[in-house]
């Protein structure tokens, strides 16, 4: 067990990063940034307004032309150098991210930061391999298709994986040759600035601009600006709709990732032997507590087939009780702090409504009091509800370490329950039978169906939603399409006129 020291590399105050340098906010105001580990503020962050956003968009437009004409090889080199720099400072970045968000250090060391590094490398690779196309229309006519950057794009980042989600958006946008104005979440505005302190010298000024602030004051002017060519957002449905409304005013594209209520389905044959596979499936069940449940694809509905329901659920409850809560900087901690006080309060409100609806609490069900310096932090006990799919705890994304369990009879019943949701982002299937796995996987209306695994997020596997879960596919080279225009040159090589005029 290792207990990492609280990070000391923070500046006391972060301004906006615009045009390659730090710029004070136009309004001169700042807001306090607390760590969810203790609830205590650790830095101040600029409270951006429309004037700051305009300045950042100006800087991005100033840089976009040259950056978009840079060779793919040069852009890939920049992304690879960013990845290398992050690799050199992996532990410091992991500690910063844990302090900012409250998640356990074992996750930031093993997942958040390594995945972000690999994501930059992936898009450095795919942009080198991307080719335009040509179509031979007839003997004299050729259609050439070129990829061109959109220009200046706006990106609004969520607070659950501050650095990884920023990377999911930055890497494809930069690879495609765009300049970016990025607004971090107001709950987690600081770790991106620590990253910038490590990599800013690698980026041409104005290619990446970061404006801090609140959604209503800084996010709205960015999302509604006619001077950004596209807006990317991860968050919830009402803001997603509002961003689409702004985009409709300017006829601009958006990509949206708006969450889910992901089913995790355990067929009877999982329990035919007490072997490694069943053990892996129990770990898969317990993945609802990863990142304190603050994951858009949290497997927050567990569907267990009737034949092994009682035994499997009993083992799952036992596994869940073994989850070790604690200080997020302790390497043995499995579940850390929720990211903010309002998130904590929302989760507690769902623990209340679940009980009112008649869901049974099998374990957990309350705020966790960890004492000492953690007593001001935002901790929740991993919680298992047992109930029916029509209950609100089965239908709404609680975004906490809470799973709601119900049973199913057969494959058709499992698919029916799985699809009885407004969302369709992720799903999990656990079975030893490849035919069951294939049929269920194709029938579930979700963009990602983990089969005999869960919560893996490798670059090169497309990630995005069906139904109300959003528009677009991140984490894959196809995301380049969302950051590029297609230019068609339609060329005639015929020397003679058509003969019309």
């Amino acid at each position: 067990m290792t207990r990492y020291d609280a990070p000391t590399h923070w500046q006391s105050r972060y301004d906006h990063f615009i045009g390659g340098e730090y710029v004070k906010p136009h309004g001169g105001r700042y807001f306090e940034n607390p760590t969810p580990v203790t609830g205590q503020p650790f830095c101040e962050v600029a409270r951006g307004t429309a004037e700051d956003v305009e300045r950042a968009i100006d800087a991005a437009h100033g840089a976009a032309g040259a950056w978009g004409r840079t060779s793919a090889a040069d852009r890939a080199l920049v992304l690879n150098r960013v990845a290398d720099r992050m690799q050199e400072h992996l532990q410091a970045l992991a500690i910063a991210e844990t302090w900012e968000n409250g998640k356990p250090i074992r996750e930031t060391l093993a997942a958040d930061i390594p995945l972000a590094i690999d994501h930059f490398r992936y898009f450095a690779g795919v942009i080198r391999a991307q080719e335009g196309s040509l179509a031979e229309i007839d003997d004299d006519t050729v259609a050439y298709h070129f990829h061109e950057p959109l220009g200046v794009v706006g990106q609004i980042i969520p607070w659950n994986f501050p650095l990884l989600m920023a990377t999911w958006k930055l890497a494809p946008a930069l690879a495609a040759g765009n300049a970016v104005v990025l607004k971090p979440a107001e709950q987690t505005p600081a770790s991106i600035h620590y990253l910038l302190s490590l990599v800013a010298d690698l980026l041409p000024p104005g290619v990446v601009n970061v404006v801090n602030g609140f959604g209503v004051e800084a996010g709205r002017p960015l999302a509604s600006s006619p001077r950004v060519a596209k807006v990317a957002f991860t968050g919830e449905t009402t803001t997603g709709r509002l961003i689409m409304q702004y985009a409709s005013e300017n006829i601009k594209p958006v990509t949206l990732e708006l969450g889910g209520k992901s089913p995790n389905i355990f067929f009877d044959d999982v329990s035919t032997a007490p072997d490694d596979f069943r053990d892996k499936a129990l770990e898969g069940f317990t993945m609802f507590a990863l990142n304190q449940g603050e994951v858009c694809t949290c497997p927050s509905r567990a569907l267990i087939q009737q034949g092994h329901y009682a035994d499997f659920l009993a083992a799952a409850v036992e596994r869940t009780r073994e989850i070790r809560p604690g200080h997020p900087l302790d390497s043995a901690t499995m579940v850390g702090a929720q990211a903010s006080n309002d998130q904590l309060e929302k989760i507690l409100s769902y623990l209340d409504i679940g009980r009112q609806e008649g869901a049974r609490v099998l374990t957990g069900g309350a705020r966790a009091e960890l004492g000492g310096e953690l007593s001001g932090g935002y901790y929740v006990e991993p919680t298992i509800f047992e109930g029916s799919n029509s209950m609100r705890v089965f239908q709404e994304e609680i975004f906490g370490p809470v799973v709601s369990v119900t049973s199913f009879a057969d494959l058709d019943d499992a698919v029916k329950i799985a699809n009885d949701t407004l969302y369709g982002l992720g799903a999990g299937i656990w079975t030893r039978d490849i035919n069951t796995a294939y049929r269920a996987g194709r029938a579930i209306q979700a963009g990602r169906v983990w089969t005999n695994c869960y919560h893996a997020y490798p670059a090169h596997a497309a990630f995005g939603g069906y139904k109300q879960s959003g528009i677009g596919r991140e984490n894959h080279k196809m995301m380049l399409d969302h950051y590029q225009q297609t230019k068609n040159l339609l060329v005639s090589y015929a020397p003679k006129k058509l003969g019309f005029f």
Binding site: T234, G240, L242, S349
Partner: protein
Amino acid sequence: MSDLVTVTPAAAELIRSLREQHGPLMFHQSGGCCDGSAPMCYPAGEFRTGSSDIRLAALAVGGVPEPVEFWISRAQWDLWQHTKLTIDVVPGRGSGFSLEAPEGLRFLIRSTLARRDHE
């Protein structure tokens, strides 16, 4: 349908304060990830509701001259209709584009069962 949504005194005070700063207000109940399930407060008309939405209430808030409309998508209300909603407020950072976030406060929905018809 106004009894479907009520407002705590603390939330009413925040609504009054936001009304003074921003003019007439509206709510749209969100769903989905991150700050989903939170009620979003906007200047009235900022969020364009449509046929996919339902107006649950026109809230009478003391000191606010006009009713404050509370909207939710019909698909979400289908799943929520067995509950009554109370708009409360807690300290928080907020998110989305909701007006109260810079105040260091966040609107929060508390729910109680209206009837037990989900079984």
